[in-house]
Amino acid sequence: MTAETVIGAVPAKAEFRTCQYTGLKVDVAAQRLIIANAVAAVVFLAIGGLMGLLVALTRWPAVHLLPADWFYLILTGHGANVLLFWIIFFEMAILYFASAVLLNSRLAAPKLGWLGFILMIVGALATNVAVLQGDSSVMFTSYPPMMAKPHFYLGIILFAVGALIGCGLFFATLVIAKEEGTYEGSIPLVTFGALTAAIIAVFTIASGAIILIPTWLWSLGLISDIDPLMYKVVWWAMGHSSQQINVSAHVSLWYLTAALLVGAKPLSEKVSRTAFFMYILFLQLASAHHLLAEPGMDASWKIVNTSYMMYLAVMGSMVHGLTVPGAIEAAQRRNGFDRGMFEWLRKAPWGNPAFSGMFLSLVFFGFIGGISGVVLGTEQLNVLMHNTIYVPGHFHGTVVAGTTLAFMGATYIVLPLIFQREIVWPKLAKIQPYLFGIGAAGISLFMMGAGTLGVARRHWDMTFSDASIGFAHSAGAFLMMGLNGIFAIIAAIGGIIFVLVVVATAFFGKKITSGHKLTFPLFSGGGAVASHYGSEKAPKLPGTIILVTIFFVCFVLYYFINWKYLSELWLFR
């Protein structure tokens, strides 16, 4: 039985071209789908990112841009457009790339891919319409008993079905590639990472269906009641594991970028693959860390689940945090940058936005998103920042400075290789990851700071001017929110440059013909490294050891500082 008979499609004659830079055989049908999904992703990033700026400017007390109803509306739109639509459209592009392109295979059933794409577009539009109509400002988490319009939920459901189809094509393409022998040995690490993401996505979408379909029926009046606590347990099985999809996807892109730009091979394939595998094994239980401040949850349940069976998934990320810079160091030393501790890092291609995006993503994800995530997810420490603006601070570290920045970096590879267009305005492109990265890191840190001082998330007025019982936040809290506004502007400038460069390149970039020299060149032979199996041999990594040591010291210090804060609170049990 072939993969086609399983999914019921007619085998098509695929049309291929060979990439002149990587030597990879590219299925033109896959290429079109990658372009469509990437373009849709960028459109939703543009919309959602602009909404983010409006939100941040409203939360800047001195500016306080939007009126309250618009603030909550735009904030709902911001969450949905960036967290769901931007990220997941881009992930579809990654799945098609990591299967068909990296394996030199044809894509299974491209027509189904288009069906999925259309469902996702229709869903995303329906949800946006519901939000903009104004009766669905329920935030993207849509906790009952607060109710949105039925098409708010239906849009997300359709979007998820489309994404599920994309995952199905990814699996089917892996099967086809194996059957047709388009690669030898094991699938490459990047594809393995994408496989991790796709497997988690199936679990995620199933949880989403279990909770959102009843909620949709409830909004139609067909079900009388949704238990708010049960909703959260199941919703976060989707909401949290979808973050694991993001992590798997962007870690795969770290490896891909390192391979294509400096020829980096994993230190050992076994370790890196096991680290990916841990995401599948241990993160599904983590919805618990969204329920630490909820009534009636048992402490042992919380501890077991937040420690993800003793933090084995965090360990997975910590392993990637060593092996990715380690692989880059090993490759750079092999490339001749072998002097001292850090020549390999100094002489890395910092002028290439694909590299700077990737490396900043790695640093910010680990130092900001990762450390704050563990602290926030610790059973008792959660009470210190649950639902404060610390929480968006944390996840702008993971999903903006981490995932979004990694996706942006990878786009600078996708544009020449898949769109086959030379990047316009290379000077702007060069500074873009720095602007966006610094902005994103800034908003993460300042929101975390404000949250530590008690500022609430999803909150229009930190002066409480309309409240019958007044309350005044400290001057420090106001300062943090002002700085947040300033860095939001920096991030927004970086985001706008990104969107402009991508759109201009896609439509007006010089067509790449054979023999063209890329503005941002790849490492010769990088394509082979990315699409094949193989570990680095016996590298020396003093620089990486120093980097991870610094990381570990920060981690431990920050962890204990928070216990100290906790111990100064009122007593409760």
């Binding site: 060979t18 030597g23 990879l24 055989k25 909550y72 607060m146 690669y183 030898e184 040995g185 708010p228 606590l229 230190l267 394939e269 076994k270 370790v271 401040a293 009534p295 402490a299 420690s307 003793m310 933090y311 965090v314 360990m315 910590m318 060593l322 610790t378 059973e379 008792q380 009470v383 210190l384 649950h386 639902n387 530590t452 001082l453 008690g454 609430a456 999803r458 909150h459 409480f464 309309d466 409240a467 019958s468 019982i469 309350f471 005044a472 394509g527 082979a528 094949h532 193989g534 016996a538 590298p539 990594l541 570990f552 431990v556 804060y565 609170l569 009122w570 007593l571 409760f572 049990r573």
Partner: protein, 191 residues
């Protein structure tokens, strides 16, 4: 094709780099430590969220809070009763659109059984500037033994989005110094 010969090794048989192994061991031990520390805090720490919770109909909870406020009312502020319960007793706080009700007056160093619930949507009990944050659900009555360790005026903010008036949802807790409280008590007794 610019390809090196594929290396067809079986990945689970390869040796692991030494740095990787050391890092894995460190990460594992640190994870183990953090795991144990959460458990340890239940014994050595004074801040652990209680799991005592009951299902309750919102109207039943509202009645309990009304009763509590009536019995313990010492004065009114902006039309909201200020309740001064006895140390150690059951204290009820109600979250509703858009108010934490009633206002409380507690005594520093004394423990109270604080009940939290909502009668409409979810709310976020956020005690400031102390920064204790607890989720409040309709239909669930959460009981927490709380001991103030500072005196003064504290705000309760709502930090779970609860509709258009979310940012106007506040409440208040006064904490008095035990000495002053005792003094007042003596005064009252002497009268």
């Amino acid at each position: 094709m610019a390809v090196t010969p594929p290396e067809r090794r079986i990945w689970w048989n390869e040796p692991i780099e030494r740095v990787e192994l050391v890092w894995i061991v460190i990460a594992f031990l640190w994870g183990l430590f953090m795991f144990v520390f959460m458990i340890a805090w239940h014994f050595i720490g004074q801040q652990n969220l209680s799991k005592e919770a009951y299902r309750i109909a919102p109207s039943a909870y509202e009645a309990k809070v009304d009763d509590f406020a009536k019995k313990n009312k010492v004065r009114e502020e902006a039309g909201i009763p200020v309740a001064k319960p006895k140390p150690g007793s059951d204290v009820y706080i109600l979250g509703r659109l858009w108010q934490w009700w009633p206002i409380l007056e507690l005594e520093k160093g004394q423990s109270y059984r604080i009940h939290l619930s909502s009668i409409d949507w979810q709310h976020g009990f956020s005690l400031q500037p102390t920064n204790i944050n607890i989720q409040v659900h309709p239909g669930y009555e959460h009981v927490i033994s709380l001991t103030p360790t500072q005196s003064g005026e504290f705000g309760i903010v709502c930090n779970e989005f609860c509709g258009i008036g979310h940012h106007t949802m506040t409440g208040k807790i006064y904490v008095t110094e035990p000495k002053k409280a005792e003094a007042e008590q003596r005064l009252a007794d002497g009268r």
